[in-house]
């Protein structure tokens, strides 16, 4: 192991190098580009023995990954925002063919208006494509999660592709001290890829992606669905093994201060560092506040979330993405997790940090204020709240809500 001061992009590339991926196919887009640049360098220097395919688009990047995974190669790519949106069609194909491809996403907002800054909209819009989705809080977690992802999805109980999402700029371009494990140690956790799924092979001919008629399509979908649900237990096993070997433990969710909390803030990504600080400060002032960080967004940790927040009075879901006309994207999923509980907390939805806006302690304090006012109410006065929105600017634009 060596401790290095590296960016999120570099940590991700290190992970792909340590995973000894066979094929990388990717296309540049800010803020993901450096991941591919690092990998190209490793390949050029012979530190990674992989084929790099400098494709002409993200649609082709994902397609090339599909082709490579179909012949049994361990395959990696990375993208962001517009690029990920362009891949959309191919994401379904990768999941439907049950190919264990790992893709890093440097989360970024989508045009219009143009933004290169952090927003979870890009990957959340791919929610239903059949990919596992992990969101990380720091550069170390980015590296570790790539390794955990390969280990989990190559397991024959899962066989689905996975996205590891790190916040654009906040993580992709910020350097932190990261423990980079030794290759030998990683090999023990993640042995060389030997596909436990049918591959395109001239010695064993098969036909891929045939037409499924109404008498089978539903069953294919069901099978994919239960594999995703099963991924929870496989993930837990991988994470436990990872902790044993590397001393860093992860879970589908992470909680802090939830045991006695009256108020719980729930969210994902790099802002959870700030949320942790805010919660600590509030607790020092005697407020009973807790935190739930979603690490695995797909499979969604329904039971874990329910168990963590069941006894609290109010939970505030922080959404760094917007389902226009509805509100946050994680919020309805949290409500689903709570609906069947006999006693459940009141839930508020906070839209924060869109298009790279900092999620600051004052914004979080405002959210907590709203939550406190809701204690004891039978239903929230306002359900979707924008605690970081610039009221003066909205007024100047003549926008009323």
């Amino acid at each position: 192991m060596s401790r290095q001061y590296i960016s999120g992009c570099c940590a991700v590339a290190e992970a792909a190098r340590l995973a000894e991926v066979n094929v990388v196919a990717a296309y540049p887009i800010t803020p993901q580009t450096s991941i591919v640049e690092y990998l190209a360098n490793y390949v050029a220097k012979g530190e990674l023995k992989a084929e790099m395919i400098p494709v002409e688009s993200e649609h082709s990047a994902m397609s090339a990954c599909i082709g490579a995974a179909c012949v049994g190669a361990r395959t990696f790519t990375a993208s962001s925002s517009q690029g990920l949106a362009l891949m959309h069609e191919c994401l379904f194909m990768a999941a439907g063919l049950r190919l264990p491809i790992v893709m890093a996403i440097a989360n970024r907002a989508l045009a219009a208006p143009v933004s290169i800054f952090c927003d979870h909209q890009d990957s959340l819009a791919q929610r239903d494509t059949g990919w596992l989705q992990f969101y990380v809080e720091n550069c170390q977690e980015a590296l570790d999660t790539i390794l955990i992802a390969y280990r989990t999805i190559e397991d024959e109980r899962v066989l689905l592709p996975a996205m590891v999402c790190l916040d654009g700029f906040f993580l992709s371009h910020i350097s932190e001290p990261v423990d980079v494990p030794e290759a030998e140690q990683v090999k023990r956790f993640l042995p060389a890829h030997s596909p436990k799924y049918p591959i395109l092979d001239v010695n064993n001919p098969g036909i891929f992606n045939v037409m499924a008629f109404p008498d089978t399509y539903e069953e294919f979908s069901y099978d994919r669905h239960v594999s995703m649900l099963r991924a929870r237990e496989v993930l837990r096993e991988s994470m436990a093994d990872f902790a044993r070997l590397f001393g860093r433990s992860y879970d589908l969710i992470e909680t802090y201060g939830c045991e006695d909390a009256e108020l719980i803030l729930l969210g994902m990504g790099s802002m959870m560092g700030t949320v942790r600080t805010a919660v600590r400060l509030l607790r020092e002032e005697g407020e009973k506040v807790g935190l739930v960080k979603i690490k695995s967004y797909r499979p969604f940790p329904t039971q874990e979330v329910a168990a963590a927040v069941q006894k609290t009075a109010v939970i505030g879901v922080l959404d760094r993405g917007l389902s226009t006309g509805l509100g946050g994207i994680i919020y309805p999923e949290v409500l689903k997790s709570l609906y069947h509980l006999t006693t459940r907390p009141l839930a508020l939805n906070f839209i924060v940090g869109l298009g790279g806006r900092d999620v600051t302690i004052p914004i979080l304090q405002r959210a907590v204020q709203e939550m406190k006012q809701a204690i004891g109410a039978s239903r929230p006065k306002r359900e979707t709240i924008w605690p970081g929105a610039d009221r003066a600017l909205l007024q100047a634009w003549g926008i009323k809500d």
Partner: protein
């Protein structure tokens, strides 16, 4: 040694029970090519009639993937890289089979990228001059004046309005990429076609074959006329048969100097029947002129080699 019809294998790689229309030119094109390609083939087939022909009933004897409509060339790029990285690339023929829609239109970018990067694969475009799988719509390969469901005839419209000389010419387009080998072929000239396939798969790089594949329901002719129509396309110079090496050196491989009038070719096909009404009489002369000009131009290109 080059294959002859005598040495060509009796084995079939396009399974009986396939779901194509009777007399489907594309199935004939696939049948001939696969007899040369053999079992050591991985085929990526873009969405279109041929994936239905393989996928619904019957199956090829080699591994096969039905890709999306536009990404067959990108998927084959991944297979090329994947096999290389696993040291399994030798002795495997990577082949794309795609329609003219999946090639000239929606799949053009992926094909251009794959060829430019120099992946080793053969791309066979079976050109039935339209989107047939979705019920005969026009494509970038539909000829001038042809009636399709999106270029109907009536009012001021005589069918496909884009002139013949501006139809996307895939072979010349890929020649401009410097592709090591590109050719047109006809199912009415099986030896020429088969030898081109043989030559193409021996190349350590990208190669492309554009094979005209008459389509009985789409073009409007009786299902026993497929080969006759394919032959007439060559004899009238409507579809010249040639090859290009290294993107530069053109060679007409079927000369057909004693050519027939284009009218003979058009007359047999329902999609051109309106051109024979009084109203459109001049159009046939216009098509003839464009076909002649194209032939003359190709001959000039072919002469460059000799010079």
């Amino acid at each position: 040694m080059a294959t002859t019809l005598k040495t060509l294998t009796d084995e079939e790689f396009v399974a009986p029970g396939r779901a194509g229309c009777n007399g489907c030119g594309a199935v004939i094109a696939a049948r001939m090519a696969t007899k040369v390609l053999g079992r050591n083939t991985l085929m990526a087939n873009a969405t279109g009639c041929m994936c239905v022909n393989y996928g619904y009933a019957g199956a090829p004897k080699f591994p096969f993937i039905h890709t999306l409509f536009e990404n067959a060339a990108a998927i084959i790029s991944g297979m090329d890289a994947g096999l290389r990285s696993l040291h399994k690339r030798d002795d495997v023929n990577l082949v794309v089979l795609a329609g003219d829609g999946g090639t000239t239109d929606i799949g053009l970018q992926a094909l251009s990228g794959a060829v430019e990067r120099g992946h080793r694969f053969l791309y066979i475009c079976y050109d039935n001059e339209g989107y047939m799988n979705t019920g005969v719509q026009r494509s970038g390969a539909t000829p001038y004046g042809a009636k399709t469901t999106t270029t109907p005839v009536g009012g001021d419209r005589l069918g496909e309005p884009r002139p013949l000389e501006r139809r996307k010419d895939m072979v010349r387009l890929l020649a401009a990429h410097g592709i090591p080998y590109a050719a047109t072929a006809s199912i009415a000239h099986p030896l020429d076609y088969i030898r081109k396939v043989e030559r193409a798969i021996a190349i350590d790089g990208s190669s492309y074959i554009h094979v005209l594949s008459p389509c009985s329901p789409g073009w409007g002719f009786a299902e026993n006329m497929t080969i006759k129509i394919a032959r007439l396309a060559v004899e009238t110079h409507f579809f010249p048969i040639y090859e290009v090496e290294d993107g530069r050196w053109y060679r007409l491989t079927i000369k057909a100097e004693r050519k027939k009038a284009v009218e003979e070719y058009l007359r047999l096909q329902g999609r051109f029947s309106h051109l024979f009404s009084e109203r459109y009489r001049d159009e046939i002369a216009r098509i003839q002129a464009e076909v002649d000009a194209n032939w003359a131009y190709l001959k000039q290109l072919a002469a460059l080699r000799a010079g």
